[in-house]
Symmetry: C2
Subunit: 408 residues, 2 copies
């Protein structure tokens, strides 16, 4: 199996998709910041999505769920600046946005996916969509995919996008995607919004399965602050225009496609974590030697979510006791006396704990390793062969600052 990431790849890299974004002044008045985006395909696509598990959810999700019941979609419309959640008229507004989008694109309302992100509990006006969708449509092109990544940003400091190419039976298939989110990010659907396109030919059923699998090792392994948003949506559309033999069962092509999708989503997940609110570094927790996959995943997620581990990493403090402590309350069955811990970064690797107890180590060297942009916390459980990786970031002064006055 061979696949590679495309430089400057984005949501319009796969065949058949155009995109664009515009300033609707939802995010702020008197600005030119883009806050409405559309992605559309020249034909109706197989489509699937996964959503927040929060009971309190945006009406955009309810509408999208209805529209995706038939496993088909042709466009995505999304806005930032307002989550359209906890509003009395939210369902009507989300439906009307789909109707407007369908009308300017000349497609069916039921083939539109809608998503929103931003502040909760403030009514989302329809006006910005009425005023701007037609103009937005006129500017849609192959080249403007990256504008969409920009338009869905809220407290994000960088755009998150990717595209990956993979061979399916001699045919090159492309997967592209964008994501946003840097706060309210936790282990179930650790994202606010992510939209993915592909030109692979794949049935709706198989696309749904592939997405579910790919999410397990990517977005479901990210934690920024332990909060699960009301709006998390990850939607995928497959145009089939690559011309590969359609995937309709879990055959070899399905496996290759799912692996490429997983790695594509992982790259977005890491970008989310690295851009976590206030983060100064990307943290990766790599667990090896677990008895079961569940053990490995839960331990990695618990360690990456610990406020005390996150603050220690901010301070470049090799306080491995906090890592053992987090392993201990993960709820998994671990033999503490077999646990090894080391830290790794571009500056090197250092062992700090062997068989559940501290070992002498060079504090200066540890500090240097922990000062890097990307730090991997490696945990060996010595209990089996399963492994997992979770992605997170340090907890910093700026996280507090950003969230201490988000609305004001």
């Amino acid at each position: 199996m061979s696949y590679n990431f495309i430089e400057n790849g984005t949501i319009t890299s796969p065949k058949g998709f155009t995109a664009g974004a515009i300033c609707g002044s939802i995010k702020e008045e008197n600005t030119t910041k883009k806050d409405i985006m559309m992605v559309a395909c020249e034909k109706v696509c197989s489509a699937a999505a996964v959503y927040t598990k929060n009971l309190v959810k945006s009406d955009a999700i309810t509408v999208t769920q209805e529209h995706l019941k038939d496993g088909k979609a042709q466009a995505i419309v999304a806005n930032s600046g307002n989550a359209n959640a906890c509003n009395a008229d939210g369902y009507k507004v989300a439906s009307d946005i789909c109707r407007l989008c369908a009308s300017v694109l000349g497609i069916k309302t039921e083939d539109v996916i809608v998503a929103s992100t931003g502040v909760i509990g403030v009514p989302l006006p329809l006006m910005p969509f009425e005023k701007n969708l037609f103009l937005l449509k006129k500017g849609m092109s192959k080249e403007n995919g990256t504008d969409c990544a920009e338009a869905i940003m809220t407290t994000d400091t960088v755009k998150k996008e990717m595209a990956v190419e993979v061979e399916l039976g001699g045919t090159t298939v492309t997967i592209g995607g964008i994501a946003k989110g840097s706060g309210m990010i936790h282990i179930n659907m650790g994202t606010m919004l992510s939209f993915v396109t592909t030109d692979a030919a794949i049935s709706s059923e198989m696309l749904k399965e592939a997405l579910k699998e790919a999410v397990e090792d990517s977005f479901n392994m990210v934690s920024v602050d332990g909060d699960t948003s009301t709006n998390d949506t990850l939607a995928i559309m497959a145009s089939g225009l690559a011309g590969n033999k359609e995937i309709t069962t879990k055959d070899q092509d399905y496996k290759i496609f799912t692996q490429a999708l997983t790695d594509g989503l992982k790259s977005l997940a890491k970008k989310l974590a690295a851009d976590g609110e206030g983060a100064t570094k990307l943290l990766i927790c790599s667990v090896q030697g677990a008895k079961t996959k569940k053990d490995a995943r839960n331990i990695a997620k618990t360690v990456i979510s610990s406020s005390l581990v996150k603050t220690a990493m901010f301070g470049a403090d090799a306080n491995w006791g906090r890592i053992l402590c987090a392993i201990g309350y993960s709820g998994m069955n671990v033999d503490v006396k077999k646990v090894n811990v080391s830290f790794e970064s571009a500056a090197g690797e250092i062992n700090v704990c062997q068989n559940g107890a501290g070992i002498g180590f060079d504090e200066e060297m540890a500090k240097n390793i922990l000062l890097a942009d990307t730090v991997t916390i490696k945990i060996g459980l010595g209990d089996g062969k399963e492994e997992a990786e979770a992605y997170g970031c340090d907890l910093t002064y700026d996280y507090v600052k950003i969230n201490g006055d988000y609305r004001t």
Copy 2:
């Protein structure tokens, strides 16, 4: 039922107990800070304890569990500055500390409760105990209870102690206690250490039951940072010297005693939360109108644990959307359309969300209310009659600062 808190009450307020503390230079070299404490009773007491649920735990806990198997104890010895956790020789050290304590007090080693708090993974030397326990014993008195509260402090900024009096069948019974802990505090055993004494006559079995009940609504409802310590221990000793009719069944006296114990522990729990690492204010989340007690407790705990709610409270930002969001991911079954939210403090009360949607409110007034030292987030579920309260604090720059370089 009538009971009242005793001004300046502490662990030596109940009849039969003396206490003292000393500087053993465990916390720091070249200082006079007290870091070893002992509490002892003139007779063997009924005793019980609850512990951390962390799989990685201090050997002090293992030793205490063994000593409390018979439901009897006569003394507590504890230190700060070193958790005696994740050390190869931890069990031996904890046992030796008990032996030393028993020897200077002239009691049985099996009647000693031992506890430690501080940094994890650094061997705890026996020397400070060998050098100081005898001197410590000589200084023990009725008056020195408050020194114990001081000796167990780590990042705590204030001592936590209380005593409460209650009538049992015409006899006055006293409960006194101390606690420490301001980080690594989460909803299961939300404390590092707490020691409680009483002169009530009560059997070991009933004392254990009363403690279990009292913890549910007090320490199990506190969250500072979501981390569960390796060392959490809450131990209670009952001397029986008040002379009440011994409690041996769940009769009226048991109920009165348990209620007084609950309220005593609640007062310590609130002090823990208010002194949470870096906290500028005590947050209380009061949930009413829940269908079940479990719903009420879990929702209160989830809201008080949310990093986004905690940072909003630090910024005195009435961002109720984050509260609804947290209710939504609590895992409880809630009808969002019935949820009301208001904020209350000494400065007044303001409704911000009715029937799951925002209502217009005076932002200036809300800010004033949220600027208080103690803020109550009131949540009405409109779904039943059960209620619960959880205790926490805001998430601030100083939390990050304290934990960014705890060891260095």
